[in-house]
Every structure is written in C-alpha cells, then in structure tokens.
Amino acid sequence: MKTSLTAMALVLGFGAPAMAGKAEVLETYADIAHAGYEDSLLKARELQAAIETLLADPSPEALNKARAIWIEARVPYQQTEVYRFGNPIVDDWEGKVNAWPLDEGLIDYVDTAYGGATDENQLAALNVVANPTFTLSGEDIDASEITPELLADRLHEADAVEANVATGYHAIEFLLWGQDLNGTGPGAGERPWTDYASGDACTGGNCDRRGAYLTAATDLLISDLEWMTAQWAEGGAARAAVTADEDAGIVAMLTGMGSLSYGEQAGERMKLGVMLNDPEEEHDCFSDNTHNSHFYDGLGVRNVYMGEYVRIDGSVVSGESLSSLVAQSDESVDATLRTDLNATMIELGQIKAAAEAGLSYDQMLARGNEDGEALIMDAVDALVKQTRSIERAVAALGVAQIGFEGSDSLDNPDAVFQ
C-alpha cells in the first residue's frame, strides 16, 4: 500500500507541469538559515557590547541590560534549531553553542547545597573563575588567563563528561543570572551585579576573572556564529550540502522538522521534565526563559515549512515553500500539517502566556501542579501530532522514507543493507 502510494506520488510529482521546484524550496530554506544565524550573530555582538559596558562600569542597570539582550538573542537562535537535525554541519557544531544541562560549578561558585562535586564529576566544583591553576585528567592546566581556547579546547566536555559545558549560551546565561535556587518555586537566578564590581565591592570573589570568563565565552559565541553564518552564505558548505541533491535536501528539511518536534522538544526537553518533576530539566534554567526557548523552537519548525522568517529588524525572508510543494502532491496533507503547526504555536503560546504572567516553566514542572503539567503535555501532544503529519508529507512527496528504510533490506537485493 505504501509502495503504491509512494509510486503514485512520484508520478504526480514529476508529472505536474507547474510544480514549485525543489531547488527553489531549498534555496528558501538556506536563505532562512543564513538570516537566522546572521540575526543570532548580530544579537551576540549586541550582547558583547552590553557585557563590555557591564565590565567597564558595573551597575544593576548594566547587568539587567545584558540579561535583556541575552533573552533577545535567544529569539533568532532558537528559530535556527530546526536546522540542527538533518544537517550534519550544524549538528556537529551545535554542542559548542547550546549544550545543556551543565554542571555550573565547573565555571564559578555555586551554592553549598549543590553537592555532587566529588564523585560524579570531579570537575563539577572546579570553579575556573576562582582557580588560575588546576589539574585536569592528571595534567596541570594554566588558567591564569581565561581565553576562548581554554574554554573550547580544555574545559568543554572535559573528562568526557557532557555536563562539563564551558561554552555557549548557557554558560553565558549562568554568568549573567547565577544559579536558580528556587527549585520549582517562583524566581530565577539572582546573581548580584557586584559579582562584576571591582575592588572591595566585588562579591563572590575573583570578579575580574569572572568578567574575563564572560568575555571569552561571548567572544567564542560570536566566532562560532560567524562561522555558521558563513556556512549558509552563497557558496557556503551547509548551503552546498543541502542543495547538492534535491531529494536529500527535502528529506533534511523534513528530518529537521520531525526530529526537533518529536524526539528533541516533545521528548527530551518537555516530557522528561514532567516525568521527573525536576526543575533542572529546564532548558534555560538560570534565566527562567524556557517558555521562550520552546516557543521559538516551534516557530522555527513552522518557518521551515511555510518558507517564511521574520528577522530581528522586522523584515521578512520568504520564498518558495515546502508547504506549496506538498500541496501540489496532496492538498489535504498540506492543509492538515499547516493546521497542526499553527495548533502547536497556540499551545506553546499558552505556556509562554502563563510564564510571562508569572508562572515560570520550572513551576509548571512541580509535582502535583496539574495545570502546569497539562499546559506542557498539551504542547507535547501537539508536537507529536504535527510530526505524524510531517510523516504524511514525506510520503506525499515521495522522497526517501525517513523512517524504516532498509529494515527489509535483505528482501531487496538491490538496496540491501543501506
């Protein structure tokens, strides 16, 4: 049955005279990626400027300004997450920029109740900010100068422990907010601005080294985003990879949509937290910005399908869309998927609304908070439902099956064991 449907779709697809071309759809896809990473880069540079101000002239206002820009910077970046799945260039790079959760004690002081520093992860209380020299896997490390290289090459995932996140948005987030010690109660991290003050006003110790860490992490974020923006520019490797084979490119688009929606977002980032009632299972846990993180992840999926992205300056990048391509094969599949994507945005929007009204995402995770759990699980269900429709779109387009291709490989000697 599936075979015949696929065959039919192929015939229709190739036979239709005025089809939206896959090449144009892929071009839109790459254009949106480029704009998204470029916007992320622009915001990261704004963040860098705000941090320079904070370090030059520490004040509550300067810290709040940097925090506000960090939250703005997450808006374009989260919309690019859909590119991570299906694009090896992005997937291989992403861990440097957006890894979580992290053992923040690697970076800076933590609450004494933090614990676990001795056995689970010897580096969980390493506190690079306070220690200019330390031993790592039996090797003496000179960290008297905190550089991007130290963070990226020595500290990040040190000792093969994934929680040793030394770089990226969440390391910066921790340095701006500090630990959220409120559990599933209200409130985010409350790092005092004086953690960046000079002389006797300095709290938390080593304010200059903390500032140096913040500077190095931000510099690194900028260079990473510059690199990724270039990959999607005309002639860039990521753009070339996704446009080299049109069917494979379309599969990459759909894989990214489906994998982010279902496994990554609905599963690891949302369902797991509900299962465990654990405020640590919160994507942007220091800043309590998780509702936005989820919302803009969802919007990124929709952007890819609709071929449209609203940039940080309000301008719109748009072009031939995957939606129109699917509609040519099967209008009802397209209509259902669009409906599903919109429904997801409503569910994610409700989480965002509740969070912005004061019920932060970690509070929704509290054991016994049935309303909070329902808010999250409704969004999970919507994400799962839209993925079913994504699978139908794959079938309608007749591009290679994302799912179980090859599971019957021995039955097909020509395609065996692919």
Binding site: G267, F404, F417
Partner: protein, 582 residues
C-alpha cells in the same frame, strides 16, 4: 587490606593468599567437561546448522554426522539424554524477541551472505554499514557513539531521547525534594549511567590513585560452599551435565565493590592498581611494552575481606549496537560453538547460559565481559541496582548490592515506596533499555583503502575471525523495526573462550571459568580515541593500544597472537589500520 596480583590460575594449585602475595585460585573446579555425546542423544534438527555442510537443510541421525556444532550443543547442555525436554531447548529460544521465523530460502541466503569473504581486492557489498540500515554517519567528534539507530522513526526517537535523559540523569540520595530522582546507593559506583559509559563509549582505568575510578569497578565473589542450596541456574546446568564452578556473592561485600557511598554510609573500599612492565619482542626489530596490572582493595569499610574472595576488574564497555547483538538468533551463535574443539583448530568457544530474571528461565548470555546477562534490559537493570543502587522491577531491593551483613545500608534511607514503587519504575527502565538498544554503530571509514584491505586480509587469514566472527543477519522481528533483519558486522562470536592465564581474573561467572571471557564486538573500536580520548582496551583497560590488546591474547588465541608477533612489521601495521577503520 588484601592484595591480589595477576592470577596465574593453574589448575589444581593451592590458593596462596595474604597481603602482598599472589592469589592463585583453584583452577580444577573451573575445568569444562570434556566429552562427546553418547549416541543415544537426540537432536532437535531445526536447531542444528553443521558448519561443515551449512546448506544441509535436514539433520541426518548417526554419530558420524555429529559435527562439532552438535557436540557443542550437547556439551553446552542444550539437550539431555532424556527425550527433549522443555528445559533442554529453553536456553536456545529467543523468548526476549517477537520473532518471525526464517524460511528455508531465507536461511540459505543468509548463510551465503554471512560466509566470511576470501576476497580482499575490494570491500564487500554493504561493508561500510556495520549495523545495516541502523548504521549512522561517522561523526568526527566525541558524539560518534551517541546517535540513535539510523532507521529509527520519529516516535521512537522520542523514546530514545527521553531514555538518554534518564541515562544522563544524576541520581541523588534519599530523601530529596525531587522524588523521581532519589534512591542513590546507599553504596554505589556512579551516580549516573553516563558517568561510567562516558559518551556512550568505554570506560578506562584511573591514571593514578588520584584519578577518577568511576568508569571501572571490581566484581566480587567467593566459592560456594558445598552445602549452599543450588541456584536455579545451577540446578539447570547440573541437569544438563554442565560442570560449572559454583560461586556466590561475597557474604558481606556482595557482588561488586562499591567505592562510593552517600553521606552517613561507609564506602566499601577502594580499588588500587599497580602495573608491572613486560617487554615483548616483535619481528623486524620492533617491540612493545605491556602493563600487567595487580589489583588490591584498600580501606575495606565493612570488616576484613574474606580469604577466598575472588575479584574481577571491569571497565564499562561501549554501548553501541547492543539491540542488534540482542537480535542475533541464539542458534546462529551456538552454531559457532565448539567447546571440545572437535575440529582441532585450537579454538573452542562455549555459550554462556544464565538465569533470566525477566523470563524466569535459562537463556543464552550475551552482554558483559563474561556474557553474564541475556538481554539489554537485564544488563541495564542489574547495572542500576549494582552500580547506582537504584531498585527496579527486576532488582527490587532498594539497598542495591548491599548484603544483610551491611545493616546500616539495608536500613536506608531509600527512594522507593513512592508512586514509582521502585526507585526507577517500569517506564523508566524500558526507556533506558530502549535507548541502550538503539545507540547506533557508526559507518566504517576507508573500507576501500588498500592498507585497510590488506589489514583485513591479515585479520582474516591470521585466524582472528575464528572468534571475531564478521557477520550475522538479525532475526526478523515484530515491533522492533530498527533491529529487524539487518546484515551486521560486529566481529564477535559472543562465545566464551579461554584467553590464557595472562588475562585470567580467576573468578568464574556462570558457565565461564576464571580464564574465559566473551569475545567482545569490535565495531566502533577504531573510534575509541575520538569518542573517549583514550585507547584503553580489554576488560580492565590494561591495554594502551590495539596492538597491546592483541598481544595480551593467550589461551585459545595464543596461535593467532603469535602470528601477529612474527609477521612482517608492515602486515602488523596494516592489521592495526584495519582495526582502526572499524
């Protein structure tokens, strides 16, 4: 403090124990049966695939026909002299899988496709994909072992990701505000799965006494007393005529040494390793230096260690391809067994038979350094209980590996008894199991490189494939599409082999004696350094390179190892290059 040096494990020798002295364990009890079947033994024809005539669809009665594979089955106790009983065939049935039986024509095709190649001019078809359709691209970073099966659906990807969350999750001591995360210990080796299975790859021994020991631990046992009641598996094996050394967990310290404990509890002790250098001369003027380890337990926390304590050091193995290994037909593994070396090639190979807690019956053991667990689920459940102290539906004891002699530990506090019932509930265990079954094997690199092909030829022609069997086709499965009917290349027979005194731990486990180890799969081995930042191999990570790992091979593998020592240096280098491409 008791010192354990390398075990020489000479049969019949009296144990010589004491601080600072070598402990030589009795080998006499470890010997396997040496007999060929009496003629009246009946064979289940459909279970026998004679190696010598693999195409033969039917069993023909008569002793002359009894090829080594038949002997194996007999010696391994699959079939007793009595009419075939349910128990006799039980261990061969893959009850953990929902199998669609193979047709004769399928079986014939599989026999052809899994026969080891004799052509080395070019790669074989599909060789690039060691896990069939479940293979994933070989990432160039430390995440190479962390991707889900290449053929996974979006829905299952969610289970994989949530399972990953549980695999990474750090368990905390009870009582804690996060009810779903407490239950650690009271004694434990690690606080999360991931902490031992670093990057889903393999663990390593500590660099020195100050380095983390978390990805390695010591298993413990003592010989059973004659008056100890028989366990279910002992009763079963005895009925099958299999003479196995009986052992029990240490009455105080249990089945493994937990070197960490939650606040208020004592750790059981600390593993200490010292190494002694051994020079090995190789052909063409080359040489190698092996590090021979000695193990001892320092700071025992629950009283003196018993004199007859047996210890076995283990590093956490890599996690890739486990669901595929689980999906190999037991009959195909048994077909390679030859416990009495009837073909005279110096290689025996015995199947491990263990008691399944989940299925309450004997099953073939496949997982662990001595194949002590039959399924990924039981491997995971036993690791939760033993390594982290987390109770679960298969190991309900909240105190993990604690024994009644450790009263404070038994008393708790524990994390069970809330709405999860166990410290990890059925749903959580299923998710971790699913995750573990679907960590994907990366694609081979450079399969067509002339040096790699040359090394492949050396590997095949030096006798390595006598145990490191290249290929299988997995069962056709209902409801497990990722693993169903795939041509896979694990390079293992998953059988127990005598690896000689140098590698011996002197600690029997089930059917395995103190010198026997399960052939580990080799897929992904060339990515160890990329994933884990080290090249430590073998059960205790003593080998610091692939060459050292080869040189440690003894016993049944002695001849193949000697060939590697004697072969021209160029051939040896090519062999290593081939292994690095796996």
């Amino acid at each position: 403090m008791i010192t354990r040096t390398r075990f020489s494990n000479k049969p019949g020798k009296t144990p010589d124990r004491g601080p600072g002295r070598a402990a030589i364990l009795p080998g006499a009890i470890l010997r396997r049966p040496r007999f060929c079947p009496p003629e009246d033994i009946k064979i289940m024809p459909h279970l026998i695939r004679p190696k010598t005539n693999p195409a033969s669809p039917r069993f023909r009665p008569g002793f002359a026909f009894l090829s080594r594979s038949v002997c194996i089955v007999l010696a391994a106790g699959m079939f007793s002299a009595a009419p075939i009983s349910g128990a006799g065939a039980e261990a061969l049935e893959d009850v953990h899988l929902d199998v669609v039986p193979r047709s004769e024509s399928e079986a014939e095709r599989i026999r052809k496709v899994t026969a080891p190649t004799t052509e080395f001019d070019a790669p074989e078809p599909f060789e690039t994909n060691p896990a069939g359709a479940a293979t994933v691209r070989a990432r160039k970073d430390a995440d190479a072992f962390s991707l889900p099966s290449g053929n996974i659906s979006f829905g299952h990807e969610m289970d994989f990701k949530v399972g990953n969350g549980l695999f990474k999750k750090v368990w905390v001591s009870s009582p804690a505000s996060t009810k779903a995360s407490d239950g650690l210990g009271p004694v434990y080796n690690a606080r999360s799965c991931q902490r031992c299975h670093l990057k889903d790859g393999r663990g390593h021994p500590p660099e020195d006494d100050d380095d983390s020991r978390v990805s390695m631990f010591l298993r413990l046992s003592v010989p059973a007393h004659a008056d100890n009641a028989m366990t279910e598996i002992e009763t079963y094996l005895a009925a099958q005529g299999i003479d196995t050394p009986r052992s029990r967990p240490d009455p105080v310290y249990g089945g493994q040494l937990q070197d960490l404990a939650v606040t208020g509890h004592a750790a059981e002790g600390q593993m200490r390793i010292t190494y002694e250098e051994v020079q090995i001369a190789l052909s063409d003027g080359e040489s190698a230096t092996l590090h021979a380890p000695s193990y001892r337990i320092a700071d025992p926390g629950y009283g003196p260690l018993s004199d007859d304590l047996m210890i076995s050091p283990r590093v956490a193995p890599q996690m890739i391809g486990l669901g595929l290994i689980e999906a190999i037909p037991s009959a195909d593994i048994l077909a390679k067994a030859d416990p009495d070396d009837l073909d005279g090639d110096g290689i025996s190979g015995r199947a491990q038979i263990v008691w399944s807690r989940a299925h309450e019956r004997p099953m073939m053991g496949r997982f662990g350094w001595k194949a002590g667990n039959p399924t990924v689920e039981e491997q995971s459940a036993s690791a939760f209980a033993g390594d982290i102290g987390i109770s679960n539906p298969l190991f309900p004891g909240a105190a993990g590996d604690c024994t009644p002699a450790q009263e404070v530990c038994i008393a708790g506090p524990h994390g069970d008894g809330d709405e999860r019932v166990f410290e990890i509930d059925r749903e959580g265990l299923d998710l971790v199991t699913f995750y573990s079954q679907n960590l994907a094997v990366p694609a081979r690199r450079d399969v067509d490189d002339p040096e790699v092909l040359r090394g492949k030829q050396v590997f095949y022609e030096s006798g390595c494939i006598a145990c490191h069997s290249p290929k299988y086709v997995t069962h056709r499965l209902e409801g497990q599409d990722e693993q169903s009917f795939q041509l896979i290349w694990p390079y293992s027979d998953f059988l127990l082999h005598d690896m000689g005194p140098g590698l011996a731990d002197g600690r029997p486990e089930g059917v395995a004696d103190g010198q026997e180890w399960r052939t580990p799969p080799l897929w992904g081995i060339g990515l160890t350094e990329q994933v884990n930042g080290h090249t430590r191999f073998l059960h205790d990570g003593r080998a610091r390179s692939l060459l050292e790992a080869i040189l440690w091979h003894g016993g049944e593998a002695q001849a193949a190892r000697d060939r590697v020592v004697a072969m021209p240096a160029g051939a040896r280098a090519a062999l290593i290059r081939f292994l690095e491409s796996l």
